[in-house]
């Protein structure tokens, strides 16, 4: 196999369209031929159910497991945030769109957690470096990419929004270093009732809710 012009390493079949184009141009008959194609497609899609289009957005195509959509912050088994605020993602981020403020976690074994974890989605370039840099599988990408908002401030995703958005659990994760997940999982609003977002009580911040774990250690 030798490289061909254009840089392909495989042999690409070459279709010469100029000959066919000259033939079709030269006769009126080709117009009616084209009508025939259109009519045939109409019959198949109307009566045989062979429709190439879907009624988006009610219906959506499945995305790849490696799709790099908006980020998800994953959780531990008890539904608390996995992130330890190590700033690896903020460090590697070429768009500098991640802002973290770390806090002292009540559990000394965990030590650190993000009091604030914001991603400026308008600035994000969806390169997925943050996911690669994360030592804890705490941030993965989703298969969701809807960014239409009424206000620019809504494009800054806070912990709550990054942890759980409608439909994010059902769609499953997008790009992530380990397939399947080794340690983390996506917040499940059905199972993890204790951290339901938005929390009714303010101090019950999702990241601090390690009650089971803290009680066990003290």
């Amino acid at each position: 196999m030798k490289p061909v012009k254009g840089g392909y390493a495989v042999e690409v079949p070459v279709i010469n369209v100029s000959e066919r184009a000259r033939q079709e141009q030269s006769s009126v008959l080709s117009t009616f031929k084209a009508f025939g194609v259109t009519f045939r497609r109409m019959i198949t899609s109307l009566f045989k159910g062979d429709m190439p289009t879907i009624s988006y957005p009610e219906e959506q195509r499945p995305y790849s497991e490696r799709f790099r959509g908006t980020h998800i912050l994953t959780v531990r088994d008890d539904g608390s945030l996995k992130c330890v605020a190590c700033y690896m993602c903020a460090t590697i981020c070429p768009a500098e769109c991640i802002y973290i403020e770390a806090g002292e976690h009540p559990n000394p074994e965990i030590e650190k957690f993000p009091e604030r974890f914001d991603i400026d989605m308008m600035r994000c370039i969806y390169c997925g470096f943050c996911v690669d840099a994360c030592p804890e599988e705490a941030i993965v990408m989703s298969r969701e990419h809807h960014q239409a908002v009424y206000d620019r401030s809504e494009t800054i995703y806070t912990i709550e929004k990054l942890m759980q958005r409608s439909g994010i659990y059902a769609k499953g994760p997008g790009y992530r270093p380990n397939i399947p997940f080794a340690e983390a999982k996506i917040f499940d609003p059905e199972k993890n009732k204790v951290c339901s977002i938005p929390s009714g009580v303010e101090e019950r911040h999702p990241a601090v809710l390690y009650e089971s774990m803290i009680n066990k250690r003290h």
Partner: protein, 548 residues
């Protein structure tokens, strides 16, 4: 003097020095954990082993004095192997929690692992010994016993430097650990130095903990403005914009996250007191002034300065030069005070209280001094202690001898200014016809002043301070002052321009001008002052070295 050969180069060194001291002087790098030049020798980490010809075994370079004709090699395979094994033992039970460790990025374990060891741990991560984490040694310091390598630098600091002996090694053998007695927490006024000396992430500062990662910081060499000692330090401030356009985070302003002691044997060795180390928080205590006001109306700074100049000129023409005076601050730089003296034709003082009497008095026997202003000696050198202190200026203002005054006020960074001083300042503002206050924060007492000018504070301007012993040291601009605030010397340069004196606002050029005026400083310039400061040649050294 004995001659030693280190890595095939012959050096002459003072008798009695150890190998590691000579190597440090000539720039040969020897890894070490337990040795610290200001704490002393322990010889427990086994990292500084070097090969000495005719010695049967490798010798610890921190504990071996040099001898004439000694041939030392620091880079042989035998040495590297010894260091590698030492590293493997030190890291045997290390939790490898670098992502949550504050030291990460400036950790000596990381550095030496990358340059010497590079091994895989033979101990599975789950089976490593677990010890206490985030344990409070005192109000300012937290201990993580898992990360500790028992170099005992902190123990020796409290033993040899502060003589308080709070930190000890408890138990023996593999159970040995650093700790404190429960009834004697680490509360000495120099406690946070143990965070500086800790080469690993075992001791972390409660104040700096988790605020920012070390690699986001940029260091600017500066001088502490907490008292007249003028300890050398490094200001670590934000250097990189993280977080893009996220509200609440301003990428351009810069923020000081911590200050770290900078070694200067003549002044502070490697140490800082806790008050001075945390003094940068004082700047956050009150809201900053963000714009100039003239009789309560917001004006831009240039308009306000023009107005002030015209007022001063009018009063000077009416009642003579003596009716216009200025009250500087001993926290202003030499440059600013010098220009102030120029503009106000020598009618300047800086004394708010008893600075001149106390600036050489020690508060304790290590570093701190009673006068909480960094530049009292500088102001005295400039001849500013002649007009009279705040109280006498006040009285003269009440007798209408002084009709207009410029008050430059910088809050004390350590402790707080006495209520009496603030009351006197208020009295002074009320007594004069026309008052200009250039200050850093929005203080209540200053609101009555005719013109209020926002001023850049410590670490926001470049200049020199002269410490208690007459050492002239450079304080650098680490962060940007809030919008609208200018350093005092820039404001006075504008004022001088209005009175047809053309001056540059570059501090080093102003210092040159100062040197022509003040004979003592004539031989100095910013290059010769450098990082460690310089004592002017003509100064008689009255002060004694009191550091241990």
């Amino acid at each position: 003097m004995p001659k030693v050969t280190i890595n095939d180069h012959v050096y002459e060194a003072e008798k009695g020095k150890t190998i590691i001291q000579v190597a440090d002087e000539v720039g040969v790098q020897i890894p070490r954990y337990c040795y610290h030049p200001d704490i002393g020798v322990e010889g427990s980490c086994r990292m500084c082993l070097v090969e000495v010809e005719k010695a049967p075994k490798l010798v610890p370079s921190c504990a071996t004095p040099i001898a004439d004709g000694m041939v030392i090699r620091t880079t042989t395979e035998r040495v590297n192997q010894a260091v590698r094994y030492a590293m493997e033992f030190l890291l045997l039970h290390h939790p490898i929690d670098c992502p949550v460790c504050d030291q990460s990025g400036e950790c000596w374990l990381q550095d030496y692992y990358m340059s010497y060891a590079g091994h895989d741990s033979r101990y599975p991560l789950g089976e490593k010994t677990r010890r206490r984490k985030a344990y409070n040694l005192g109000p300012e310091v937290k201990l993580d016993q898992e990360r500790c390598i028992l170099c005992t630098r902190c123990v020796r600091f409290t033993r040899n430097v502060t003589h308080t002996n709070e930190i000890q090694v408890f138990n023996r053998g593999h159970k040995a650990e650093i700790g404190i007695f429960e009834d004697a927490p680490l509360t000495n006024p120099y406690s946070m130095n143990v965070v500086d000396v800790c080469p690993v992430g075992a001791l972390t500062s409660a104040d700096f903990r988790f605020k920012v990662r070390a690699w986001f910081l940029q260091g600017t060499t500066s001088v502490c403005a907490g008292c007249s000692t003028g300890c050398n330090l490094r200001v670590d401030h934000s250097a990189r914009a993280v977080g893009g356009g996220i509200p609440g985070y301003t990428a351009t302003d810069g923020k000081i996250y911590r200050t770290v002691g900078r070694r200067n044997i003549e002044v502070n060795k490697s140490w800082l007191c806790d008050e001075g180390r945390l003094s940068f928080h004082t700047m956050e205590r009150w809201p900053r002034l963000v714009g100039a006001t003239v009789t309560g109306q917001p004006k831009n700074t240039n308009e306000a300065l023009t107005f002030a100049h015209s007022q001063f000129e009018t009063i000077r023409q009416q009642s003579g030069d003596a009716a216009v005076a200025a009250l500087g601050s001993a926290t202003n730089t030499n440059e600013a005070l010098f220009l102030l003296k120029r503009y106000f034709r020598g009618r300047v003082d800086f004394r708010l209280g008893r600075e001149t009497e106390t600036y050489q008095t020690m508060q304790d026997d290590l570093l701190r001094r009673l006068d909480k202003h960094p530049n009292t000696q500088g102001a005295i050198d400039l001849g500013l202690a002649g007009l009279g202190d705040l109280k006498s200026i006040c009285e003269r203002a009440e007798r209408k001898e002084i009709r207009a005054v410029w008050i430059s006020f910088h809050p004390q960074l350590v402790g707080s200014d006495s209520d009496e001083t603030l009351k006197d300042l208020q009295r002074l503002i009320a007594a004069v016809e026309f008052s200009v206050v250039s200050t850093t924060h929005d203080f209540d007492w200053a609101r009555k002043a005719t013109v209020i000018l926002p001023m850049a504070g410590w670490a926001e301007e470049r200049g020199t301070y002269t410490n208690y012993a007459g050492r002239v040291q450079i304080t650098n601009r680490a962060i940007t002052p809030p919008a609208g605030a200018l350093p005092l010397h820039v404001m006075i340069v504008e004022m001088l321009k209005l009175s047809n004196v053309q001056v540059t606002s570059d501090p080093s050029a102003i210092f040159d001008w100062l040197g022509r005026d003040v004979a003592l400083y004539s031989a100095l310039d910013y290059d010769s002052i450098g990082l460690l400061g310089a004592v002017p040649a003509g100064r008689t050294a009255e002060t004694t070295e009191v550091l241990r």
